[in-house]
């Protein structure tokens, strides 16, 4: 059960990353490589702030804002300095490595005995339910504090993604979505597309940094290398979500990204739990992603064929 809860919590935390990648890759059609840098940036900011005695909730918010700034830089490079899309992300990602090192002062900060958002959640659960309370579910006993952390994070994720969804329905949000679809037309309508790119990529990287900040607090340390590979995880989650749910509307795609992220973590956990040779882990996860993408397509094709025959 610990394994399941662990995988679910991880999935929820990485959902924020998937949402960020959804904003830049889907809404803006922008191959934004800043993600790997801003994920670690979130961890770096939260770790540096927490060990200097900051209140963890404020610190998490600040990590989000720092991510926004990093993303805005990428957007700025793209829209005002006319740097290529890929290159703008690469430039910011590369410089973030040094910036993260400077923020932390060293490459790795442990947060084991400090108060983090996660320990706050655990403490709340302890106070309400007792330290070693266990919930029994169909014969499995679960430590309540783990369950509480998961449920509260899930609630936060729900509120956050709802807010994001509502934001994309406001005027400015709609303009942002339109920029990704057809920038020329939007420009003709008198919207400052450059500004929209800056804001949008900023928002995307804010989500990613938030994910990094939560991850650092959950695993108990921040490391300058923790962003490595995150872009791939995020895109994989997004694509799993797409093939599960389709890309017809913003809300559905967002839900898909979250589900994809959770599902992906579960699948990885299953693979680990079945004692698969860890050397094959990356290959197996690639095959899993492929299967999830191809399978719905094949089902659809078959259905269409049937329809044609009938």
């Amino acid at each position: 059960m610990t394994l399941l809860i662990g995988a679910l919590v991880m999935g929820v935390i990485l959902s924020f990353l998937a949402l960020g990648i959804f904003v830049s890759f889907r809404l803006f059609n922008y191959p934004d490589l800043t993600a790997e840098g801003s994920f670690a940036l979130g961890g770096a900011v939260i770790a540096a702030l927490i060990i200097s005695g900051f209140e963890p909730l404020t610190a998490t918010l600040l990590a989000f804002i720092c991510g926004c700034i990093a993303g805005a830089c990428t957007g700025f490079l793209r829209s005002y300095l006319k740097v290529q899309e890929l290159l703008s992300g690469i430039l910011v990602m590369t410089s973030l490595y040094s910036i993260n090192l400077t923020i932390m002062g060293r490459s790795n900060i442990p947060l084991l005995s400090d108060t983090t958002v996660i320990t706050i959640l655990e403490r709340i659960s302890d106070r309400m339910l007792g330290v070693s309370a266990k919930a029994v579910l169909l014969g499995w006993s679960i430590p309540c504090r783990n369950l509480a952390v998961f449920l509260i994070l899930l609630a936060v994720l729900a509120v956050f993604s709802l807010a994001l969804y509502l934001f994309f329905r406001t005027n400015i949000g709609t303009a942002m979505r339109a920029v990704g679809n057809n920038a020329q037309m939007v420009r003709a309508l008198g919207v400052n597309t450059n500004l929209m790119v800056v804001l949008g990529i900023g928002l995307a990287n804010g989500c990613i940094a938030l994910s990094g900040a939560l991850m650092a607090q959950y695993q108990g340390f921040a490391d300058v290398q923790m962003g490595i590979g995150m872009l791939v995880w995020g895109i994989a989650s997004l694509i799993i979500g797409d093939s599960l749910i389709g890309i017809r509307s913003t809300g559905l795609t967002m839900a898909g990204a979250i589900m994809g992220s959770v599902l992906f973590r579960l699948l990885v956990s299953i693979a680990l739990q079945w004692g698969m040779n860890p050397n094959h882990l990356k290959l197996v996860s690639a095959v899993l992603v492929l299967l999830i993408i191809v399978f719905p397509m094949m089902v659809q094709k078959k259905r269409k064929k049937k329809g044609a025959e009938a």
Binding site: R106, I228, S269
Partner: protein, 349 residues
């Protein structure tokens, strides 16, 4: 209105698939977990160990082999007295988290960890299982405790901080005229930074000055080595970290081109062309931790076993390389060395 209803239905249908799949995956995970729980109850009384590494590298492999051989030497055979499950996160911190959740569930008798990120994740997530770490430069900085004696109650292990004082004295014997030594270090690796700082202290004590040049990726190795050579160092003395040990060939090449003698902290580097090394024996580190494991299996508490350094340090020399750099290794150093490679070996001994 009808349209709206249909849309809602459609949305619900779509979301359902995702929820269903998640539930399915979750229950598969749970059921296979349950099966294992039952297995656990019926399992023969055979000890289960876990070994988790962070990246694949020679140091981790040496540690692992040491652990297994150490247990064998004490009469514990794999498959008879103990089972060992080996995981490696391949540099992916999210995978590391999953692996360690898995260990929490499996409740092995002892968990061995290699590398600092593994240790740190374990420190956060595991409290009831005895943990023995190896291949960790500075467990105290990583959060394993206050000192080598007073540490977390379930964690102990072998610290593999390099023997910098030994290196400084070896340097002084082999190159008595050397005053400035240099190294590359990786600001992104905590162990590399700690090594650099510790080496600086040891060098100063021995009357040498250390020049350190930062390097961030394997593509910068050549340029960084050139920069280091241009700072007029008498010798390069490369600290051991993941990046530079993986791209040591580039350092060796540049050092040879600039005729600056190279020393190292890994035995492998000497075979590739460094003059000498004072190497912590990672294989021995594995054996030492196997010995700790046996003590725990016999009923000692991890809390009562102090963290300690690897019990063995090897001096390894390469006479070919020494000749190339125009260095004469004093005969008594050669005699004292644990391993000598190179053509002249037979002649001198």
């Amino acid at each position: 209105m009808n349209d709206r209803k249909r849309l809602l239905l459609f949305v619900a249908k779509r979301l359902m698939l995702g929820v269903l799949l998640i539930a399915l995956a979750g229950s598969v995970l749970l059921i296979s977990d349950r099966r294992r729980e039952l297995n656990q109850q019926w399992r023969e009384k055979r000890a289960t160990f876990y070994f988790i590494g962070y990246t694949d590298n020679p140091m981790t492999e040496d540690c692992l082999n040491g652990v297994i051989d150490g247990l064998n030497d004490a009469g514990w055979n794999r498959g008879r007295e103990f089972d060992i499950v080996i995981h490696n996160a391949q540099g992916d911190m999210t995978a590391l988290n999953g692996m360690i959740d898995n260990v929490v569930q499996e409740k092995p008798d002892i968990l061995f960890t290699s590398a600092t990120p593994t240790l740190q994740t374990v420190l956060k997530k595991i409290s009831g299982i005895p943990v023995i770490f190896t291949n960790s430069a500075d467990p105290i900085a990583a959060g394993a405790g206050k000192s080598f004696e007073s540490h977390l109650s379930n964690v102990t292990g072998i610290c593999t901080m390099s023997d910098f004082e030994g290196m400084v004295s070896l340097m002084k014997e082999i190159m008595p005229k050397a005053r400035r030594i240099g190294t590359l270090f990786v600001p992104g690796e905590i162990n590399s930074c700690i090594y650099k700082d510790q080496f600086e202290i040891a060098a100063e004590k021995g009357g040498l000055t250390l020049t350190a040049v930062p390097v961030n990726s394997s593509s910068e190795i050549s340029v960084a080595t050139q920069t280091l050579c241009s700072k007029e160092v008498d010798a390069i003395c490369q600290v051991a970290d993941n990046l530079t040990s993986a791209s040591i060939a580039g350092i060796i090449q540049q050092a040879r081109a600039e005729k600056v003698p190279l020393f190292a902290f890994l035995s492998e580097t000497v075979k590739q062309g460094a003059v000498g090394a004072v190497a912590r024996d990672y294989y021995q580190a594995g054996k030492d931790s196997a010995e700790m494991a046996l003590r725990i299996m016999r009923g000692r508490r991890a809390a009562d076993i102090p963290i300690r350094y690897v019990s063995r340090t090897k001096i390894i020399l390469n006479t070919d390389a020494a000749e190339f750099f125009g260095i004469k290794i004093p005969p008594d150093v050669l005699r004292r060395a644990d391993e000598v490679t190179g053509r002249q070996e037979g002649r001198i001994r």
